[in-house]
């Protein structure tokens, strides 16, 4: 039995490779960064993880 036509129907149409840029954010992926002081220092207390409630990502 020749099943070539059925195989052709199931074959996915060709799609050309394309480049997609995915944004990685290391400042969010690494735990322990300060939510308040990211970029500018707005915190008046010495930064210690057990004293500060603003650490996060």
């Amino acid at each position: 039995m020749n099943n070539e036509p059925k195989q052709a129907e199931n074959k996915k149409p060709y799609a050309a490779p394309r480049l997609t840029t995915i944004s990685l954010r290391p400042e969010e992926a690494v735990l322990g960064h300060c939510k308040t002081t990211t970029g500018t220092d707005q915190c008046n207390t010495p930064c210690a993880s057990f004293l500060c409630v603003n650490v996060g990502s």
Partner: protein
């Protein structure tokens, strides 16, 4: 292991009978703390909802105090640039935690095996004697680091997202970078439906059956402050981004894995952890559909999802 560390380890482990225990469970991972003092096993307020009865645990941590901690002597593995760094010795990892008020000296150190099963948390008396009621041994980021690393050994991953469970049990996970609209999405849904919010910032996804996935709330909330120990079957995933109109587009397998990976919490310092995370994300996108959701922050964004059928 250096002589200094060896002596400290010996002194630390002389008393192995712990009077106090506490245990919590996040994302299906249970962690038990053992210590000689009640304060050694105290949990930060954010962990209290996740407290469970002491018993067998996936991760067992012995907490104790040492006179001082020498600088790390193992091979440097990763410097977070924040309050912790990681080095490795022969058969274990060493997490050192520092704070500007103490200079370069670690105020606590976690020594833990490579499977993240058993560890010793050493608190530095020289640094912390003036903060007896301030220091929670497992305070952030150690609690999250511990869970994140243990997840590398299981079919599970932590994602930057909010998990919302509808009254009919449908579990929608909205992932997004900071500022993508997770907390806004949470507020919109709670204003329209009687939903359960597992978290508005961090969700753990794990396999719970051969073809099923479950999402779990975590203590590490976002601006909307939702942090539940609950869990639900995961039905679909939306990658949030701000846009015009409310547009849902199904992502291809490779796009979905890449977008989820970019919003995951994976220990990047070991290639095998990255490899296993990608393999698991492939399982995730094979099990549930993943969509890009460009939305505008009003209630129509919720209605769009309520009326959405792929």
């Amino acid at each position: 292991m250096s002589g200094d560390v060896g002596q400290l380890r010996q002194a630390f482990s002389q008393s192995d009978v712990s009077l106090h225990l506490s245990r919590f469970e996040i994302g299906g991972v249970s962690v038990q703390l053992r210590g000689d003092r009640h304060s050694d096993v105290s949990l930060v307020p954010s962990l209290e909802p996740f407290r469970v009865v002491p018993g067998n645990a996936d991760v067992d941590i012995r907490v104790g105090w040492v006179p001082d901690l020498p600088p790390a002597s193992g091979r440097p593995v990763f410097d977070s640039g924040t309050t912790w760094d990681l080095s490795e010795c022969e058969d274990e990892f060493q997490f050192d935690f520092t704070a500007a008020v103490f200079g370069d000296k670690p105020f606590k150190r976690l020594l833990i095996d490579r499977n993240f099963r058993r560890g010793q948390l050493q608190m530095n008396s020289d640094c912390l004697e003036n903060f007896p009621n301030t220091v929670e041994p497992l305070g952030y980021p150690l609690d999250e680091l511990l869970i994140m690393h243990r997840l590398t050994q299981e079919n599970a991953i932590e994602l930057h997202g909010c998990g919302i469970v509808r009254p009919d049990g449908t579990g929608n996970l909205f992932v997004g970078h900071s500022g993508a609209g997770k907390s806004t999405t949470t507020r919109l849904w709670t204003s329209l439906e009687d939903v359960e919010v597992l978290s508005d910032d961090r969700i753990i996804v794990r396999r719970d059956s051969p073809c099923g996935l479950r999402m779990y709330g975590t203590p590490w909330h976002g601006e909307a402050m939702y942090a539940s120990p609950g869990h639900a079957r995961l039905s679909q995933i939306f990658v949030l981004e701000h846009g015009k109109g409310n547009v849902v587009i199904r992502l291809s397998r490779s796009e979905a894995v890449a977008e989820l990976f970019a919003r995951s919490f994976v220990p990047f310092h070991q290639h095998e952890y990255v490899d296993s995370a990608l393999v698991f994300l492939e399982e995730v996108v094979d099990a549930v559909p993943v969509y890009r959701y460009a939305f505008e922050p009003d209630t129509r964004a919720v209605e769009k999802i309520l009326n959405f059928h792929d």
